[in-house]
């Protein structure tokens, strides 16, 4: 049976950083592009293969993107890679500066998420002759930029933040085709309209909406169950930008993807992490500890995304409160993030992490997180305390069927990085696509038990490191050079 995939989630390999490109693509437009470039006979039989075929065969995907959302841009050194990737995927055609169909979210103001976004806005023009200076000229203006609102207390002091803000302001200040900036107030509300922010990414199969909802921002979580914005207290007197991360849930029918920036959980017992699942707090000092956002986010996810009680045709279906099909590792798999209690809420099918060595190595992913997500290590997750039910007395099965990482260090500066990733696959750029037909089938179902399928494949390219004392682990097995998928594809299903 032919399969198609309108929604694409590209977890780009930006080393130790994050950049996720979400694309809602017109497959009919891709088919037309292939037909025009290669002839009708070259069009793959299966629509899900159109996009990888086009990439493999150099068919331009310009004009095939209905809407796109870029969440973070990695560190500066990856900025050009992010832009090249957007160009290859048809999000940027190299000439059109203003892209109203592109939205941009900066999860928080750390260089490994924000600095690469400058390459989206600006192009560097090299000096040609004596006394010429480097110039930065406009490259691309997204339609909308979403970012946590700033205030004096929480504004980062970094130069990169100032530069990024200047870029956004510049894009907002042109005469026509201006970028619109949406400041997210605590909890993810539009700072002006006071409404919960939801980013419209068009529709997929059968007109099913695709959207990204902001559940947390600026150090607060919107808890629909309590009908209030729950502020997250800092652990110290200073503000940790990670705690202010924008948390998004991408929705497409019964498919969801949780993108939590660099938020942290508890890391140890109160977060449900015991034994080999617990963070090493031995040398960690008070100042280094992030606030626990996940413990507030979990109940908020469950309240905002309740499980289905009536199987009605035309509605998404979920068997657990707070479920998300894909869980992108918070804070690259830092030991204080991805608590067991949050996993017990999200019950993901696929876990994906972005980590590496460059620009700064942080020993991610950590062994504790790999232990928590790997079914053979943690077969069941304990739930948080609820009412009179004590924490970790109610257990849910580990639901993860696929674990994917962009790249992982083997050694750094001649010191081995020994974290076991168990059965996880190293993919380079990682593309995750829910299969349209299964989205439609679950939407149409009138009783439980319909499968939702997700396809995952990898590009494989890894960071070129300078220091011979630093190396990366090999990727998953590459396909033959003639294959349109460099790594995979792999498919995973759960039932709704």
């Amino acid at each position: 049976m032919p399969q198609s995939a309108s929604l694409e989630i590209h977890v780009q390999n930006v080393g130790q950083g994050d950049s996720v490109l979400v694309i809602n693509r017109s497959l009919s437009a891709v088919k037309t592009a292939i037909t025009t470039a290669k002839g009708a006979a070259s069009v793959p039989a299966n629509p899900i293969d159109y996009m990888p075929y086009a990439i493999k065969n150099g068919v331009s995907l310009a004009g095939t993107v209905t809407k796109a959302l870029l969440v973070d841009g990695g560190d500066d050194e990856y900025g050009g890679n992010v832009l090249d990737y957007m160009a290859a995927q048809g999000v940027f055609d190299g000439t059109t500066v203003y892209r109203p169909d592109l939205s941009l979210v900066v999860s928080h103001y750390h260089d490994d998420h924000m600095a690469g976004l400058r390459s989206v806005f600006k192009e560097r023009i090299e000096p040609k002759k004596k006394n010429d200076k480097v110039m930065l000229i406009d490259r691309l203006r997204p339609g909308t930029v979403y970012q946590a609102m700033t205030d004096k207390k929480s504004d980062p002091v970094s130069q990169r933040y100032a530069d990024f803000q200047a870029d956004v302001l510049g894009a907002m200040s042109v005469a026509t085709n201006k970028t619109v900036r949406v400041y997210l107030s605590p909890g993810g509300r539009d700072a002006i309209t006071k409404q919960q922010v939801s980013i419209d990414l068009g529709t997929g199969v059968n007109g099913i909406p695709i959207k990204a909802t902001v559940l947390a921002a600026a150090q607060a979580v919107w808890d629909k169950g309590k009908n209030q914005v729950v502020a997250i207290a800092s652990t110290g007197s200073t503000v940790d930008q990670n705690d202010r991360s924008v948390v998004l849930v991408l929705e497409y029918g019964s498919f969801r993807c949780l993108l939590g920036g660099d938020i942290a959980g508890n890391g140890v017992g109160p977060g449900g992490n015991f034994g080999a699942n617990a963070a090493d707090t031995g040398t960690k000092k008070f100042f280094s500890q992030h606030a626990d956002v996940e413990s507030t986010l979990g109940p908020a996810l469950e309240a905002y995304f309740p499980k289905t009680t009536a199987w009605v045709n035309g509605q998404p279906k979920f068997t657990a409160d707070g479920y998300c099909t894909v869980f992108k590792a918070n804070h690259h798999g830092s030991s204080s993030s991805v608590d067991v209690h949050l996993l017990a809420t999200v019950q993901p099918l696929v876990f994906v992490g972005s980590s590496g060595v460059k620009a700064r190595f942080h020993s991610h992913p950590t062994q504790a997180v790999m232990n928590r997500v790997t079914p053979a290590q943690t077969a069941q997750w304990g739930r948080r305390a609820e009412g009179t039910v004590a924490a970790d007395t109610v257990m849910v099965n580990n639901t993860i069927k696929g674990i994917y990482l962009t790249e992982v260090a083997a050694k750094v500066k001649n010191k081995a990085f020994g974290v076991s990733i168990y059965t996880a696959s190293i993919m380079g750029d990682t593309v995750i696509r829910p299969v349209d037909e299964t989205i439609a089938a679950v939407q149409a179902a009138t009783s439980p038990g319909t499968a939702l399928t997700v396809q995952v494949y990898g590009i494989g390219e890894q960071t070129l490191l300078y220091d011979p004392g630093s190396t990366l682990r090999p990727t998953a097995a590459l396909n033959a050079a003639s294959a349109i998928y460099p790594i995979g594809p792999f498919t995973h299903s759960d039932t709704h």
Binding site: E77, S158, K285, F287, S288
Partner: protein, 444 residues
Amino acid sequence: MTLTVSSVNNQYVVGGITRDPSVTAPLGRAYYQVGPHLLGFDDNFAEPVIVRAYYDPAQDPQAALALARNTVQYAGYVQFMQLSFRGMPIPPDVYGGKLADRVPYVYGRDKKFLDFMGPADARVRGVLTPFYPYNALLATSITDNATFFQHPQLNGSLWSPANLGTTQSLAASLYGEISPGLVTPADLARVLTPDNQILVLSPTPQQLAQTEAYRLALNALETTPQGNPPLAQLDESQVAAQIIGDYVLLTLPDPEELGDTLVISTATRTDGGTNVIVNLLDDYEMADLFYNAGRLALWRIRQYQIDQGVVDSEDLPQAAGRGRSGLYTPPFQFEPGEYAIQLKYWTAAVAVEQTRQQLYRTLLSGITWSALFQFDEDTGLMNFSTIKQPSLFDGYTVMDGFRAFETSLQSPRTANALIDTRNFTKAAMVRDNFAGGSKLAFIN
């Protein structure tokens, strides 16, 4: 008397520095002996590295010859520097950071410059010969030259052939900093705000006289509040330390290398007392300061090369591989282990001699040595990693440097120029041996 070297607690010390045999002077974690010179390096703090040089006239035939002339008044160290990128001399302001303000002393086509207080400070203090020990005038109330013949002094001592008592220094010495960091005190001041200030102490003058401010701060954070001090059981051997201007930076250990940095400074209160202030910068804020500074320095060098007509835009390396595509990706590619930048020193013992007709200066003996830098493309850090061992130099015209000094003091363009005095006044600061961070390597 001849200088002797011994080891105390893994640190080398110099004996024979005065007529009292019990007196020793610090040398460092590593040292070289070249001719009549001892050159030691102390890297307890990653930056600045403290360099100490001792010139033993008793070991130098040139000194014997000069003494035979019966014209030597005194002798001391002067020091000159030169920055180069892949062998091309570059001015200090192109390199940038804490060396940028050395421009007033740059001379010659090879861009050498004097390592000394700024022209304005030198003029005010009536300095005629830029002996390195005179930098102590910036921080002390010394009013006569004779004081510099005694040991110890903040930036080293001068040597006199006369017998000036038990505490007279029997060697010429130099205590200085190798402080090539690209982050300046002004850069740091920009990111220190009331919002990231975590502690203010008001110690007594006696406490401050006995204990360095950073030590008071660390002690407080390790012990208070009682029961839950934020730095309880801190393993100080894992702390990495450096000094930028008046700021002491202590980076705390962390299993995920996300350790915060305490920035400790002092400020004068309205009542005349001194507060010790602690600000906290997280790993990302430190990275923004330090990791980008190396890339920006390389772009300044690139611009300088273009302006000098050495290269043009066609020479830019092609972007190669993932992770080398940013707005600030360096315009050069480096071989692993390549020492792209060299900070070369000429450390010279110079005598002031006097005849009936004139006062003049004579080079007795000098050594040249280098601080070598590696640029880590993976992190963007410009690392001062290595010391190239010293050798005796000849053929270097110290007198050109003196002429440049005199010109700088007289030229309206440079006479009022300032060089950050903190480059010279911290050499005597007591430093705990923080073992975190990188340590220097030494090569031939």
